[in-house]
Symmetry: D2
Subunit: 135 residues, 4 copies
Protein backbone atom coordinates (compact mmCIF):
# COMPACT_ATOMS: atom_id res chain seq x y z
CA UNK A 1 0.00 0.00 0.00
CA UNK A 2 2.81 2.38 0.83
CA UNK A 3 4.32 1.86 -2.66
CA UNK A 4 1.10 3.03 -4.29
CA UNK A 5 0.92 6.15 -2.15
CA UNK A 6 4.64 6.84 -2.62
CA UNK A 7 4.31 6.60 -6.41
CA UNK A 8 1.49 9.14 -6.51
CA UNK A 9 3.27 11.38 -4.02
CA UNK A 10 6.41 11.39 -6.19
CA UNK A 11 4.39 12.69 -9.15
CA UNK A 12 3.19 15.78 -7.23
CA UNK A 13 5.79 18.42 -8.03
CA UNK A 14 4.25 20.69 -5.41
CA UNK A 15 5.24 18.23 -2.69
CA UNK A 16 8.83 18.40 -3.94
CA UNK A 17 8.73 22.19 -3.96
CA UNK A 18 7.53 21.98 -0.35
CA UNK A 19 10.28 19.45 0.45
CA UNK A 20 7.57 17.15 1.83
CA UNK A 21 8.13 13.50 2.67
CA UNK A 22 5.80 10.59 3.22
CA UNK A 23 6.33 9.36 6.75
CA UNK A 24 3.68 6.76 7.48
CA UNK A 25 0.97 4.90 5.57
CA UNK A 26 -1.68 2.57 7.01
CA UNK A 27 -5.26 1.71 6.09
CA UNK A 28 -7.12 5.01 6.37
CA UNK A 29 -4.21 6.94 7.84
CA UNK A 30 -1.24 8.85 6.35
CA UNK A 31 1.39 11.12 7.92
CA UNK A 32 3.46 13.68 5.98
CA UNK A 33 6.37 15.85 7.06
CA UNK A 34 7.74 19.04 5.54
CA UNK A 35 10.33 21.57 6.62
CA UNK A 36 9.18 25.19 6.73
CA UNK A 37 11.39 26.26 3.83
CA UNK A 38 12.49 29.89 3.32
CA UNK A 39 10.35 29.98 0.19
CA UNK A 40 7.12 28.84 1.88
CA UNK A 41 6.46 31.64 4.36
CA UNK A 42 3.91 34.37 4.97
CA UNK A 43 4.66 38.01 5.77
CA UNK A 44 5.67 37.35 9.40
CA UNK A 45 8.05 34.50 8.58
CA UNK A 46 5.77 31.67 9.70
CA UNK A 47 4.64 28.78 7.49
CA UNK A 48 2.25 30.07 4.82
CA UNK A 49 -1.35 28.82 4.99
CA UNK A 50 -0.87 27.35 1.51
CA UNK A 51 1.80 25.03 2.94
CA UNK A 52 -0.24 24.12 6.00
CA UNK A 53 -3.30 23.53 3.83
CA UNK A 54 -1.36 21.65 1.17
CA UNK A 55 0.08 19.18 3.65
CA UNK A 56 -3.19 18.71 5.54
CA UNK A 57 -5.16 18.22 2.32
CA UNK A 58 -2.58 15.79 0.88
CA UNK A 59 -2.40 13.72 4.06
CA UNK A 60 -6.19 13.44 4.04
CA UNK A 61 -6.28 12.64 0.32
CA UNK A 62 -3.69 9.90 0.63
CA UNK A 63 -5.48 8.48 3.65
CA UNK A 64 -8.56 8.23 1.40
CA UNK A 65 -6.49 6.62 -1.37
CA UNK A 66 -5.59 3.73 0.94
CA UNK A 67 -9.28 2.79 1.12
CA UNK A 68 -10.18 2.51 -2.60
CA UNK A 69 -9.35 0.05 -5.43
CA UNK A 70 -5.96 0.22 -7.14
CA UNK A 71 -7.42 1.41 -10.46
CA UNK A 72 -8.83 4.56 -8.87
CA UNK A 73 -7.39 7.89 -7.89
CA UNK A 74 -8.85 10.42 -5.50
CA UNK A 75 -9.54 14.16 -5.78
CA UNK A 76 -10.52 16.71 -3.17
CA UNK A 77 -14.12 17.84 -3.64
CA UNK A 78 -14.01 20.27 -0.74
CA UNK A 79 -12.12 20.85 2.45
CA UNK A 80 -12.21 23.35 5.27
CA UNK A 81 -9.31 24.47 7.40
CA UNK A 82 -9.33 26.17 10.80
CA UNK A 83 -5.98 27.81 11.45
CA UNK A 84 -5.59 27.54 15.21
CA UNK A 85 -2.13 28.90 16.00
CA UNK A 86 0.75 30.51 14.08
CA UNK A 87 2.80 27.81 12.33
CA UNK A 88 6.12 28.66 13.96
CA UNK A 89 8.95 26.15 13.96
CA UNK A 90 11.27 24.03 11.90
CA UNK A 91 8.82 21.71 10.25
CA UNK A 92 5.21 20.66 9.95
CA UNK A 93 3.63 17.27 10.41
CA UNK A 94 0.22 16.47 8.88
CA UNK A 95 -1.83 13.50 10.05
CA UNK A 96 -4.68 12.58 7.70
CA UNK A 97 -7.40 10.12 8.61
CA UNK A 98 -10.52 8.66 6.99
CA UNK A 99 -13.68 9.20 9.05
CA UNK A 100 -16.05 7.44 6.66
CA UNK A 101 -14.95 5.45 3.60
CA UNK A 102 -17.29 5.17 0.63
CA UNK A 103 -17.56 4.38 -3.05
CA UNK A 104 -18.78 7.87 -3.97
CA UNK A 105 -17.61 10.11 -1.13
CA UNK A 106 -14.91 9.68 1.50
CA UNK A 107 -15.08 11.94 4.56
CA UNK A 108 -11.68 12.85 5.96
CA UNK A 109 -9.96 14.95 8.59
CA UNK A 110 -6.39 16.12 9.18
CA UNK A 111 -4.44 17.67 11.98
CA UNK A 112 -1.34 19.74 11.26
CA UNK A 113 1.31 20.34 13.92
CA UNK A 114 4.33 22.66 13.93
CA UNK A 115 7.47 21.20 15.49
CA UNK A 116 9.81 23.61 17.29
CA UNK A 117 12.65 22.43 19.47
CA UNK A 118 11.19 19.32 21.07
CA UNK A 119 7.56 20.38 21.24
CA UNK A 120 4.73 20.17 18.74
CA UNK A 121 1.80 22.57 18.55
CA UNK A 122 -1.52 21.92 16.82
CA UNK A 123 -1.72 24.66 14.18
CA UNK A 124 -4.62 23.55 11.99
CA UNK A 125 -7.48 21.10 11.65
CA UNK A 126 -9.17 20.21 8.38
CA UNK A 127 -12.44 18.45 7.52
CA UNK A 128 -13.41 17.54 3.99
CA UNK A 129 -14.64 15.24 1.26
CA UNK A 130 -12.58 13.18 -1.19
CA UNK A 131 -14.05 11.65 -4.35
CA UNK A 132 -12.78 8.49 -6.08
CA UNK A 133 -12.16 8.91 -9.83
CA UNK A 134 -10.84 6.61 -12.54
CA UNK A 135 -7.03 6.75 -12.51
CA UNK B 1 -4.01 51.39 -0.54
CA UNK B 2 -2.34 49.35 -3.25
CA UNK B 3 1.09 50.22 -1.80
CA UNK B 4 0.13 48.75 1.54
CA UNK B 5 -1.11 45.52 -0.01
CA UNK B 6 1.91 45.33 -2.32
CA UNK B 7 4.32 45.74 0.61
CA UNK B 8 2.72 42.87 2.53
CA UNK B 9 2.52 40.74 -0.61
CA UNK B 10 6.24 41.23 -1.27
CA UNK B 11 7.06 39.85 2.19
CA UNK B 12 5.27 36.54 1.50
CA UNK B 13 7.99 34.29 0.11
CA UNK B 14 5.34 31.71 -0.80
CA UNK B 15 3.82 34.14 -3.28
CA UNK B 16 7.25 34.48 -4.94
CA UNK B 17 7.66 30.71 -5.06
CA UNK B 18 4.25 30.57 -6.76
CA UNK B 19 5.29 33.40 -9.13
CA UNK B 20 2.15 35.27 -8.09
CA UNK B 21 1.49 38.90 -8.89
CA UNK B 22 -0.90 41.46 -7.48
CA UNK B 23 -3.16 42.57 -10.30
CA UNK B 24 -5.86 44.76 -8.81
CA UNK B 25 -6.66 46.38 -5.46
CA UNK B 26 -9.80 48.27 -4.48
CA UNK B 27 -11.77 48.73 -1.27
CA UNK B 28 -12.87 45.21 -0.33
CA UNK B 29 -11.61 43.58 -3.53
CA UNK B 30 -8.26 42.14 -4.66
CA UNK B 31 -7.23 40.15 -7.73
CA UNK B 32 -4.09 37.98 -7.95
CA UNK B 33 -2.53 36.13 -10.89
CA UNK B 34 -0.12 33.21 -10.93
CA UNK B 35 1.26 30.98 -13.64
CA UNK B 36 0.82 27.23 -13.10
CA UNK B 37 4.55 26.60 -12.65
CA UNK B 38 6.12 23.17 -13.25
CA UNK B 39 6.85 22.98 -9.52
CA UNK B 40 3.26 23.61 -8.42
CA UNK B 41 1.39 20.62 -9.85
CA UNK B 42 -0.47 17.58 -8.62
CA UNK B 43 -0.03 14.02 -9.91
CA UNK B 44 -1.97 14.59 -13.17
CA UNK B 45 -0.10 17.77 -14.10
CA UNK B 46 -2.84 20.24 -13.14
CA UNK B 47 -2.44 23.07 -10.64
CA UNK B 48 -2.08 21.63 -7.14
CA UNK B 49 -4.88 22.41 -4.67
CA UNK B 50 -2.27 24.12 -2.46
CA UNK B 51 -1.70 26.67 -5.24
CA UNK B 52 -5.40 27.16 -5.92
CA UNK B 53 -6.08 27.47 -2.20
CA UNK B 54 -3.08 29.72 -1.57
CA UNK B 55 -4.14 32.22 -4.21
CA UNK B 56 -7.81 32.17 -3.23
CA UNK B 57 -6.98 32.59 0.45
CA UNK B 58 -4.48 35.37 -0.20
CA UNK B 59 -6.83 37.29 -2.49
CA UNK B 60 -9.52 37.10 0.21
CA UNK B 61 -7.08 38.07 2.96
CA UNK B 62 -5.80 41.09 1.06
CA UNK B 63 -9.37 42.13 0.25
CA UNK B 64 -9.97 42.09 4.02
CA UNK B 65 -6.78 44.08 4.62
CA UNK B 66 -8.13 46.94 2.50
CA UNK B 67 -10.96 47.40 5.02
CA UNK B 68 -9.01 47.77 8.30
CA UNK B 69 -6.76 50.45 9.86
CA UNK B 70 -3.15 50.79 8.67
CA UNK B 71 -1.69 49.60 11.99
CA UNK B 72 -3.41 46.22 11.70
CA UNK B 73 -2.66 43.05 9.81
CA UNK B 74 -5.06 40.23 9.01
CA UNK B 75 -4.86 36.47 9.49
CA UNK B 76 -7.07 33.68 8.19
CA UNK B 77 -9.12 32.15 11.00
CA UNK B 78 -10.77 29.59 8.75
CA UNK B 79 -11.62 29.09 5.13
CA UNK B 80 -13.36 26.46 3.05
CA UNK B 81 -12.68 25.59 -0.56
CA UNK B 82 -14.88 23.73 -3.03
CA UNK B 83 -12.79 22.50 -5.94
CA UNK B 84 -15.18 22.62 -8.86
CA UNK B 85 -13.15 21.67 -11.93
CA UNK B 86 -9.58 20.53 -12.68
CA UNK B 87 -7.25 23.54 -12.72
CA UNK B 88 -5.96 23.04 -16.27
CA UNK B 89 -4.30 25.88 -18.13
CA UNK B 90 -1.50 28.37 -18.17
CA UNK B 91 -2.34 30.46 -15.16
CA UNK B 92 -4.78 31.07 -12.36
CA UNK B 93 -6.64 34.20 -11.40
CA UNK B 94 -8.05 34.64 -7.90
CA UNK B 95 -10.68 37.27 -7.11
CA UNK B 96 -11.14 37.95 -3.39
CA UNK B 97 -13.99 39.99 -2.00
CA UNK B 98 -15.22 41.14 1.42
CA UNK B 99 -18.81 40.10 2.15
CA UNK B 100 -19.01 41.67 5.60
CA UNK B 101 -16.34 43.93 7.11
CA UNK B 102 -15.92 44.07 10.87
CA UNK B 103 -13.63 45.00 13.71
CA UNK B 104 -13.40 41.46 15.04
CA UNK B 105 -14.30 39.22 12.10
CA UNK B 106 -14.30 39.85 8.35
CA UNK B 107 -16.30 37.44 6.18
CA UNK B 108 -14.78 36.90 2.74
CA UNK B 109 -15.16 34.89 -0.45
CA UNK B 110 -12.95 34.15 -3.44
CA UNK B 111 -13.34 32.71 -6.87
CA UNK B 112 -10.40 31.08 -8.65
CA UNK B 113 -10.35 30.69 -12.41
CA UNK B 114 -7.95 28.77 -14.68
CA UNK B 115 -7.03 30.52 -17.91
CA UNK B 116 -6.35 28.34 -20.95
CA UNK B 117 -6.06 29.75 -24.45
CA UNK B 118 -8.58 32.55 -24.38
CA UNK B 119 -11.11 31.05 -22.01
CA UNK B 120 -11.37 31.03 -18.25
CA UNK B 121 -12.99 28.29 -16.16
CA UNK B 122 -14.16 28.61 -12.57
CA UNK B 123 -12.12 26.01 -10.70
CA UNK B 124 -12.74 26.85 -7.06
CA UNK B 125 -14.81 28.95 -4.67
CA UNK B 126 -13.81 29.80 -1.12
CA UNK B 127 -15.71 31.17 1.88
CA UNK B 128 -14.02 32.11 5.12
CA UNK B 129 -13.26 34.40 8.03
CA UNK B 130 -10.35 36.82 8.43
CA UNK B 131 -9.35 38.31 11.79
CA UNK B 132 -7.64 41.70 12.29
CA UNK B 133 -4.51 41.54 14.49
CA UNK B 134 -1.97 44.12 15.61
CA UNK B 135 0.69 44.43 12.88
CA UNK C 1 -40.57 22.20 -12.20
CA UNK C 2 -42.17 24.07 -9.35
CA UNK C 3 -44.65 21.19 -8.80
CA UNK C 4 -41.79 18.76 -8.27
CA UNK C 5 -40.09 21.00 -5.75
CA UNK C 6 -43.38 21.77 -4.02
CA UNK C 7 -44.19 18.05 -3.67
CA UNK C 8 -40.86 17.32 -2.01
CA UNK C 9 -41.10 20.42 0.14
CA UNK C 10 -44.54 19.33 1.40
CA UNK C 11 -43.09 16.02 2.60
CA UNK C 12 -40.53 17.73 4.86
CA UNK C 13 -42.30 18.01 8.20
CA UNK C 14 -39.49 20.21 9.48
CA UNK C 15 -40.42 22.88 6.93
CA UNK C 16 -43.97 22.83 8.29
CA UNK C 17 -42.71 23.12 11.86
CA UNK C 18 -40.70 26.14 10.70
CA UNK C 19 -43.77 27.53 8.90
CA UNK C 20 -41.65 27.80 5.75
CA UNK C 21 -43.08 28.44 2.30
CA UNK C 22 -41.70 27.99 -1.18
CA UNK C 23 -41.61 31.39 -2.82
CA UNK C 24 -39.79 31.02 -6.15
CA UNK C 25 -38.41 28.21 -8.30
CA UNK C 26 -36.34 28.53 -11.45
CA UNK C 27 -33.60 26.48 -13.07
CA UNK C 28 -30.80 26.45 -10.51
CA UNK C 29 -32.47 28.93 -8.16
CA UNK C 30 -34.96 28.61 -5.29
CA UNK C 31 -36.23 31.11 -2.70
CA UNK C 32 -37.86 30.15 0.61
CA UNK C 33 -39.54 32.26 3.27
CA UNK C 34 -40.21 31.54 6.93
CA UNK C 35 -41.49 33.57 9.84
CA UNK C 36 -39.29 33.63 12.94
CA UNK C 37 -41.74 31.67 15.07
CA UNK C 38 -41.76 31.85 18.88
CA UNK C 39 -40.61 28.21 18.95
CA UNK C 40 -37.58 28.72 16.68
CA UNK C 41 -35.43 31.11 18.71
CA UNK C 42 -32.11 31.13 20.49
CA UNK C 43 -31.45 32.44 24.00
CA UNK C 44 -31.57 36.14 23.00
CA UNK C 45 -34.84 35.84 21.10
CA UNK C 46 -33.35 35.96 17.60
CA UNK C 47 -33.82 33.27 14.97
CA UNK C 48 -31.97 30.12 16.01
CA UNK C 49 -29.05 29.04 13.83
CA UNK C 50 -30.87 25.77 13.17
CA UNK C 51 -33.64 27.74 11.45
CA UNK C 52 -31.23 29.93 9.49
CA UNK C 53 -29.23 26.87 8.49
CA UNK C 54 -32.29 24.78 7.71
CA UNK C 55 -33.69 27.37 5.32
CA UNK C 56 -30.36 28.10 3.65
CA UNK C 57 -29.59 24.40 3.22
CA UNK C 58 -33.08 23.62 1.89
CA UNK C 59 -33.04 26.52 -0.58
CA UNK C 60 -29.67 25.28 -1.88
CA UNK C 61 -30.83 21.67 -2.02
CA UNK C 62 -33.98 22.52 -3.95
CA UNK C 63 -31.97 24.70 -6.31
CA UNK C 64 -29.85 21.59 -6.97
CA UNK C 65 -32.97 19.46 -7.45
CA UNK C 66 -34.07 21.68 -10.35
CA UNK C 67 -30.95 20.62 -12.28
CA UNK C 68 -31.23 16.80 -12.13
CA UNK C 69 -33.50 14.15 -13.72
CA UNK C 70 -37.01 13.61 -12.34
CA UNK C 71 -36.20 10.12 -11.01
CA UNK C 72 -33.50 11.46 -8.72
CA UNK C 73 -33.53 13.13 -5.33
CA UNK C 74 -30.75 15.17 -3.76
CA UNK C 75 -29.06 15.01 -0.35
CA UNK C 76 -26.67 17.42 1.32
CA UNK C 77 -23.17 15.95 1.50
CA UNK C 78 -21.73 18.93 3.32
CA UNK C 79 -22.39 22.59 3.81
CA UNK C 80 -20.78 25.46 5.65
CA UNK C 81 -22.48 28.47 7.13
CA UNK C 82 -21.02 31.83 8.12
CA UNK C 83 -23.39 33.64 10.47
CA UNK C 84 -22.82 37.29 9.65
CA UNK C 85 -25.32 39.23 11.74
CA UNK C 86 -27.97 38.45 14.39
CA UNK C 87 -31.14 37.19 12.70
CA UNK C 88 -33.47 39.84 14.11
CA UNK C 89 -36.82 40.50 12.52
CA UNK C 90 -40.14 39.08 11.48
CA UNK C 91 -39.08 36.54 8.91
CA UNK C 92 -36.19 35.05 7.00
CA UNK C 93 -35.68 34.71 3.27
CA UNK C 94 -33.25 32.14 1.88
CA UNK C 95 -31.99 32.34 -1.69
CA UNK C 96 -30.31 29.16 -2.93
CA UNK C 97 -28.35 28.95 -6.16
CA UNK C 98 -26.41 26.32 -8.09
CA UNK C 99 -22.81 27.32 -8.79
CA UNK C 100 -21.84 24.17 -10.67
CA UNK C 101 -24.28 21.44 -11.72
CA UNK C 102 -23.04 17.88 -12.11
CA UNK C 103 -24.04 14.25 -12.26
CA UNK C 104 -22.10 13.30 -9.13
CA UNK C 105 -21.69 16.55 -7.19
CA UNK C 106 -23.58 19.84 -7.34
CA UNK C 107 -21.89 22.88 -5.80
CA UNK C 108 -24.33 25.35 -4.26
CA UNK C 109 -24.54 28.56 -2.26
CA UNK C 110 -27.25 30.34 -0.31
CA UNK C 111 -27.79 33.72 1.21
CA UNK C 112 -30.18 34.18 4.13
CA UNK C 113 -31.68 37.58 4.94
CA UNK C 114 -33.71 38.74 7.94
CA UNK C 115 -36.59 41.05 7.14
CA UNK C 116 -37.50 43.69 9.73
CA UNK C 117 -39.86 46.54 8.99
CA UNK C 118 -39.06 47.32 5.39
CA UNK C 119 -35.38 46.46 5.36
CA UNK C 120 -33.54 43.18 4.85
CA UNK C 121 -30.17 42.31 6.37
CA UNK C 122 -27.83 39.58 5.17
CA UNK C 123 -27.51 37.27 8.17
CA UNK C 124 -25.81 34.19 6.72
CA UNK C 125 -24.05 32.75 3.69
CA UNK C 126 -23.68 29.06 2.95
CA UNK C 127 -21.49 27.09 0.57
CA UNK C 128 -21.84 23.35 0.07
CA UNK C 129 -22.17 20.19 -1.97
CA UNK C 130 -25.35 18.33 -2.92
CA UNK C 131 -25.33 14.75 -4.21
CA UNK C 132 -27.95 13.22 -6.55
CA UNK C 133 -29.37 9.90 -5.32
CA UNK C 134 -32.04 7.54 -6.65
CA UNK C 135 -35.44 8.77 -5.49
CA UNK D 1 -21.08 24.93 35.44
CA UNK D 2 -23.99 22.74 34.44
CA UNK D 3 -26.45 25.24 35.94
CA UNK D 4 -25.12 27.98 33.70
CA UNK D 5 -25.44 25.84 30.58
CA UNK D 6 -28.87 24.58 31.63
CA UNK D 7 -30.14 28.14 32.14
CA UNK D 8 -29.06 29.20 28.64
CA UNK D 9 -30.38 25.99 27.14
CA UNK D 10 -33.78 26.57 28.72
CA UNK D 11 -34.01 29.97 27.02
CA UNK D 12 -33.61 28.47 23.52
CA UNK D 13 -37.16 27.79 22.39
CA UNK D 14 -35.80 25.90 19.39
CA UNK D 15 -34.34 23.28 21.72
CA UNK D 16 -37.79 22.81 23.27
CA UNK D 17 -39.37 22.49 19.82
CA UNK D 18 -36.78 19.81 19.07
CA UNK D 19 -37.49 18.14 22.43
CA UNK D 20 -33.76 18.32 23.17
CA UNK D 21 -32.25 17.67 26.59
CA UNK D 22 -28.91 18.49 28.11
CA UNK D 23 -27.26 15.21 29.04
CA UNK D 24 -23.70 15.98 30.13
CA UNK D 25 -21.57 19.05 30.84
CA UNK D 26 -17.87 19.15 31.60
CA UNK D 27 -15.07 21.62 30.94
CA UNK D 28 -14.90 21.85 27.14
CA UNK D 29 -17.43 19.08 26.52
CA UNK D 30 -21.22 18.93 26.25
CA UNK D 31 -23.61 16.16 25.20
CA UNK D 32 -27.20 16.73 24.03
CA UNK D 33 -29.98 14.28 23.22
CA UNK D 34 -33.11 14.73 21.13
CA UNK D 35 -35.79 12.40 19.86
CA UNK D 36 -36.42 12.45 16.11
CA UNK D 37 -39.88 13.96 16.43
CA UNK D 38 -42.54 13.59 13.73
CA UNK D 39 -42.25 17.34 13.06
CA UNK D 40 -38.47 17.33 12.50
CA UNK D 41 -38.09 15.12 9.43
CA UNK D 42 -37.01 15.43 5.82
CA UNK D 43 -38.85 14.03 2.80
CA UNK D 44 -37.77 10.41 3.40
CA UNK D 45 -38.77 10.39 7.07
CA UNK D 46 -35.25 10.65 8.51
CA UNK D 47 -34.07 13.39 10.84
CA UNK D 48 -33.89 16.69 8.97
CA UNK D 49 -30.44 18.23 8.51
CA UNK D 50 -31.68 21.29 10.43
CA UNK D 51 -32.17 19.07 13.49
CA UNK D 52 -28.82 17.30 13.08
CA UNK D 53 -27.10 20.65 12.54
CA UNK D 54 -28.95 22.37 15.35
CA UNK D 55 -27.94 19.76 17.90
CA UNK D 56 -24.33 19.54 16.70
CA UNK D 57 -23.97 23.32 16.66
CA UNK D 58 -25.56 23.73 20.09
CA UNK D 59 -23.44 21.00 21.67
CA UNK D 60 -20.33 22.71 20.29
CA UNK D 61 -21.50 26.14 21.38
CA UNK D 62 -22.24 25.01 24.92
CA UNK D 63 -18.91 23.23 25.07
CA UNK D 64 -17.35 26.60 24.21
CA UNK D 65 -19.46 28.34 26.86
CA UNK D 66 -17.90 26.17 29.57
CA UNK D 67 -14.51 27.71 28.80
CA UNK D 68 -15.28 31.45 29.09
CA UNK D 69 -16.07 33.86 31.96
CA UNK D 70 -19.56 33.89 33.48
CA UNK D 71 -20.37 37.39 32.16
CA UNK D 72 -19.93 36.28 28.55
CA UNK D 73 -22.12 34.44 26.10
CA UNK D 74 -21.03 32.70 22.92
CA UNK D 75 -22.26 32.89 19.31
CA UNK D 76 -21.46 30.72 16.31
CA UNK D 77 -19.31 32.60 13.80
CA UNK D 78 -19.22 29.74 11.35
CA UNK D 79 -19.57 26.00 11.28
CA UNK D 80 -19.37 23.27 8.69
CA UNK D 81 -21.22 19.98 8.68
CA UNK D 82 -20.47 16.80 6.77
CA UNK D 83 -23.55 14.59 6.68
CA UNK D 84 -22.11 11.08 6.66
CA UNK D 85 -25.09 8.72 6.84
CA UNK D 86 -28.91 9.02 6.87
CA UNK D 87 -30.09 9.95 10.36
CA UNK D 88 -32.39 6.97 10.86
CA UNK D 89 -33.52 5.98 14.33
CA UNK D 90 -35.32 7.03 17.46
CA UNK D 91 -33.09 9.81 18.68
CA UNK D 92 -29.90 11.75 18.08
CA UNK D 93 -26.98 12.35 20.38
CA UNK D 94 -24.61 15.27 19.79
CA UNK D 95 -21.19 15.41 21.42
CA UNK D 96 -19.56 18.85 21.28
CA UNK D 97 -15.95 19.48 22.21
CA UNK D 98 -13.55 22.43 22.35
CA UNK D 99 -10.40 21.92 20.27
CA UNK D 100 -8.82 25.26 21.08
CA UNK D 101 -10.13 27.71 23.69
CA UNK D 102 -9.43 31.42 23.26
CA UNK D 103 -10.48 34.90 24.27
CA UNK D 104 -11.43 35.91 20.74
CA UNK D 105 -12.09 32.64 18.91
CA UNK D 106 -12.91 29.15 20.16
CA UNK D 107 -12.43 26.27 17.73
CA UNK D 108 -14.90 23.44 18.23
CA UNK D 109 -16.05 20.12 16.79
CA UNK D 110 -19.10 17.92 17.21
CA UNK D 111 -20.12 14.43 16.35
CA UNK D 112 -23.78 13.52 15.93
CA UNK D 113 -24.97 9.92 16.23
CA UNK D 114 -28.37 8.35 15.47
CA UNK D 115 -29.52 5.74 17.94
CA UNK D 116 -31.65 2.88 16.62
CA UNK D 117 -32.43 -0.21 18.65
CA UNK D 118 -29.23 -0.69 20.60
CA UNK D 119 -26.75 0.64 18.07
CA UNK D 120 -25.52 4.13 17.32
CA UNK D 121 -24.33 5.34 13.92
CA UNK D 122 -22.18 8.40 13.27
CA UNK D 123 -24.36 10.58 11.02
CA UNK D 124 -22.53 13.92 11.00
CA UNK D 125 -19.36 15.72 12.00
CA UNK D 126 -19.05 19.48 12.45
CA UNK D 127 -16.08 21.83 12.71
CA UNK D 128 -16.45 25.51 13.51
CA UNK D 129 -15.65 28.71 15.34
CA UNK D 130 -17.44 30.20 18.35
CA UNK D 131 -16.97 33.83 19.43
CA UNK D 132 -17.36 35.13 23.01
CA UNK D 133 -19.64 38.17 23.33
CA UNK D 134 -20.86 40.23 26.27
CA UNK D 135 -23.90 38.51 27.78
Amino acid sequence: MKDRIAASFARQSMMQTFGATLDYVAEGSVILFAPILPGCRQQQGFAHAALTFGLGDSAAGYAALTTIPENQDVVTAEIKINLIAPAIGDRLIAKGRVIKPGRRLIVVTSEVFALKDNTDTLVAILQGTMVPVQA
